[in-house]
């Protein structure tokens, strides 16, 4: 009898373990969306909105940089409501939970956009500003969010609103191979020319971990290094993930220019100083980064690697600042926003996968 009971109980438990139904799925979306809608409604002051889109971070320093960026945008674009979005779920979740003084709601772009289209909000103009550095894979995701929105992918938006809303896209920092690359090079040189006068200043970008030119984006790092080197041969730009442009390749280029000793300053070439800046650039590692046939040393930070190669590279030479923390660089992003506002609106309606 008891066995029978247990078997029935076990069977009941199994039935209870089936995945959630469509109904609960819909209600989850609507409940979550409701929270985003309420946030937007509460903050709506203008008829136009700017949505800043970043990958996201869990570092306090990054939150501070984002807060300062939002504040700068609010003051530079006084007729716009300004919102900040993360595209990484892990970063969104962790920022919103816990015992933070104030919960930080960096909702994902699709939820913000849906909230912008709700009754009672319906912004007449939405400017989406990419906070990416290069127009790579991340940026492509941003474009896809806008296309999904513009085309009402879920069928839950007001089509007549979508047909008339003005959508604008602010491009990444290094979108243009000439104008942007030269502007960023000039700005960085203005900031670091004193250090670069007699030391190496090595910038660490992210890079796309695929072939060299899938998005025609990785090449921006090379172009930026070329532009910086018009000011000084002491500037270098390497990456974490771009093939043939790791720290080992930076070292090879330094050596080819005859720089075999001296001080190396390291600086992230990313919008914020988060995991990569603290771990891949300035982290402490057990290994000493000995050179090898392939080039890259995966488990060693830039700091430890250059130190092991005989350069002076230590905590004191790490400039752990994201580009958004440099007001003059941040201004270039803001210039892109201004250009987007002044430029032609996006024509993404019925544009998804046009091929």
């Amino acid at each position: 009898m008891k066995t029978k009971f247990l078997l029935i109980a076990a069977a009941a438990m199994l039935l209870g373990l089936t995945s959630c139904s469509k109904d609960s799925e819909k209600s989850n979306y609507s409940e979550y969306q409701k929270a985003v809608n309420n946030t937007v409604k509460a903050q709506k002051k203008h008829d136009k909105a700017i949505l800043l889109v970043a990958f996201g971070s869990t570092w306090q320093q990054a939150y501070d940089a984002f807060d300062a960026t939002v504040a700068a945008y609010k003051s530079a674009f006084p007729s716009y409501d300004v919102f900040l979005s993360f595209s990484s779920a892990i970063c969104i979740n962790r920022a919103a939970a816990g015992e933070n003084v104030a919960p930080r709601n960096f909702y994902a772009p699709p939820f913000w956009l849906t909230a912008f289209a709700q009754d009672g909000v319906k912004y007449s103009e939405i400017v989406i500003q990419s906070l990416q550095v290069i127009p790579g894979e991340e940026y492509t995701r941003v474009i896809n969010y806008i296309k999904d929105f513009a085309n009402n992918s879920n069928g839950d938006l007001d089509d007549s609103y979508l047909s008339k809303v003005t959508l604008k896209l602010g491009v990444p920092l290094l979108q243009d191979a000439d104008a942007d690359v030269n502007a960023v090079a000039k700005t960085l040189n203005d900031l670091y020319k004193d250090r670069a006068a007699s030391n190496v200043v090595a910038f660490m970008g992210h890079g796309n971990p695929d072939s060299y030119d899938t998005y025609k984006a990785n090449i921006r790092y090379t172009q930026l290094e070329e532009a910086l080197q018009t000011y000084s041969k002491n500037y270098y730009v390497g990456t974490v993930d771009m093939m043939a442009n790791f720290k080992t390749n930076v070292l090879a280029r330094m050596q080819a220019n005859g720089i075999t000793s001296g001080t190396v300053y390291c600086h992230p070439l990313m919008s914020i100083a988060g995991d990569h800046a603290h771990n891949d650039m300035a982290g402490d590692d057990d290994e000493n980064g000995a050179p090898n046939e392939e080039g890259e040393v995966e488990d060693t930070s830039w700091k430890c690697y250059f130190a092991a190669q005989g350069y002076t590279c230590n905590d004191g030479t790490q400039i752990v600042k994201g580009l958004l923390e440099l007001p003059s660089v941040r201004q270039i992003w803001m210039n892109h926003t201004t250009a987007a506002i002044n430029g032609e609106p996006l024509d993404y309606y019925h544009s998804k996968n046009p091929e």
Binding site: L6, L17, S19, A89, G98, A108, D275, N292, E294
Partner: protein, 706 residues
Amino acid sequence: MSGLLALALCVCQGVMAQDTLKKFDLQELVVTGTGTLHLLKDAPVQTEVITGKQLKNFGGRSLQEILSGLATSFDFNEDDMGSHITMGGLGNSYILILVDGKRLNGDVGGDNDLQLIDPQNIDKIEIVKGAASALYGSDAVAGVINIITKKHDEGLLLENSTRVGSYGDLRQHNGFGLRSGRWNSYTNFQLQHTDGWRNTSVEHTSPLEDPVLDSKNKTRNRFTSWQAAERLTYDAGKAGEYYAEGSIYGKRIYRLSGKYPHYDVNTYDLAYQNAGASVGGKWNLGNKDYITFDADWNRHAYYYHFTSETLVEDYDKSAGTIYYPYYPYLAGQEALQSDQQRTLLSAKGVFTLPFQNRLSGGAEFRYDYLKAPTRVEGGKADDWTAAVYVQDEFNPHRNFNITAGLRLNRNHQFGFKATPKVSVMWSVTPDLRLRGGWSQGFKTPTPKELHYMYVRQMSGTYLYLGNKDLKAQSSNYFSASLEYSVKGLVLTVGGYFNKLDNMITLVTIPNYEAPDELIARYDPVKTRKYQNMDKAKTYGGDFSLRWKIGDFLLNAGYSYLDTKADQYDTDHETIRRVKIDGMAHHKGSFSLLWNHSFSSAYQLGLGLYGRMSSKRYYQTNGDGKGYQLWRFATTHDIRGSRNLTFSIQAGIDNIFNYVDRTPHGLHLGTTSAGRTFYAGILVRFTNGRKTINKIKTNLNQRDDEN
């Protein structure tokens, strides 16, 4: 009064001295090495036993505590993901953990959930190192831990054991046994709980970041687990015995959140559900020959239990109507991460042959089904292995035994592999035995190692990838040992060498080798992928001493271990020689017990236990510090009446209050909370005589020899 006491002592010493011969020399029966019952002293394969008496004296709250306290080969590094048990330097995926001969099912990252085992229901534990037996296939590369549970055949049995300890520790065991004619039922319920503890509030941070000194992360998180099990047996007398059993289990690990999103914020707890059912039987063929059959099904499901709103990016959208790349879970909801279902069919026969031969032969079929909607491409994966084996125990001379076995494995993805085993035992004199053995092991990658994909957030995002190109692992294990026993003293010295090929482990790979889409989605600081390390070897020596003098029993053990793994570094295209993560060169254990009967109504046991380990090596995040931990345990057996007995246990663990306060994020030598206290009481009521004194177990260890 003193005269009476002296008399009592004298009488009891006499009783204990006889008891000693039975309990503490090599009269223990063991089954694990060959699948047939042997006296420990005659076991062809070197077997280590943790006896029921030791378990009772030690008063361990969990299998982890028992194994680390009473055997030298084990180490643990418990966290939310499992116990991280190692045996001879090798991790859980190389250790076969059996409960009454059946392998424990279900793991997270290769680590079995050891809370599935009720520490109060363990009769004894047998440990066999290496892939020494033909009976066991995949997993038994480092060795086998066979947990033999208590069997009950009293007319009526009611028992309750409640043990409480520091940090809200609670271990509850309830047993109800009933025998009616040839039917016997035993119902078991167990509960394990701790509030957890925090050895440090410091996080390991980047040198350029403000230090985090008030982290909410705990060294061990709060958890509660419970299990209900029922076993029904039918004794068919000389014809054999049949059984059916089933169990259900649940567990939840509670995780706190602090104010640092990068370090101590969690948005979900971990929850587990387990269910199992088995039937089997034994048919006696006469002349000590018999056949056993077992069919077993088990599932182990692992869930996230969300504690606050959580977006997931890899939601299975196949059934959905909404096409956002995210899915929001709300607080209180659960999401299945993995559901491991295993079906096991096995049959075995044991036959006495002429000329002192004993033949065991059997077949086993195992089907593994993995459902993981968000972690496996397509949501599911499966695997099956079939094996036949034969083993002969041959005594050409009464002082000499050769046991040879061959196991033929056929895996549907990795093909055919034969693994031979041979062990010899020579009783040079009645006091001196030599044993030696060579055995091959074979382990196919698990469905998780082949197909799994998951993300962990630990000071940065780590992406873990399965690898469909993995090859099967194989091992060659050589061992030799010497055992000397005389007048209550047993000395064992042994050495082993385990050579593994194609060993599977997680290796950091460059991000550009991972799928672009995953890198864009998670932006991991490191991507780790299961890979076959080219080669690895572990070798070491063990020494143990067991000495009974009067009411005293002294146990001491020492293990030396070294490991060398040649790890192929894909990034550098070089071979790196590394130590296997978590290994320590030197480990020791010590115990001194004093058991004394003051009267037929009261027995006292006092025990002092020590265990120590040198530094534990890790490739990243620092080495674990060496440690030594001491424990004082008391047991008080009180006989209330013929039917009613009480046993009280109380003690102090980690007497000298050693705490490893290494910051979170780095490896610890031990997760011990420091000095803790415990007390427990076992109340046991029995009525009705026990049936014939036959060892009642399911499965392969059943025998009539005693």
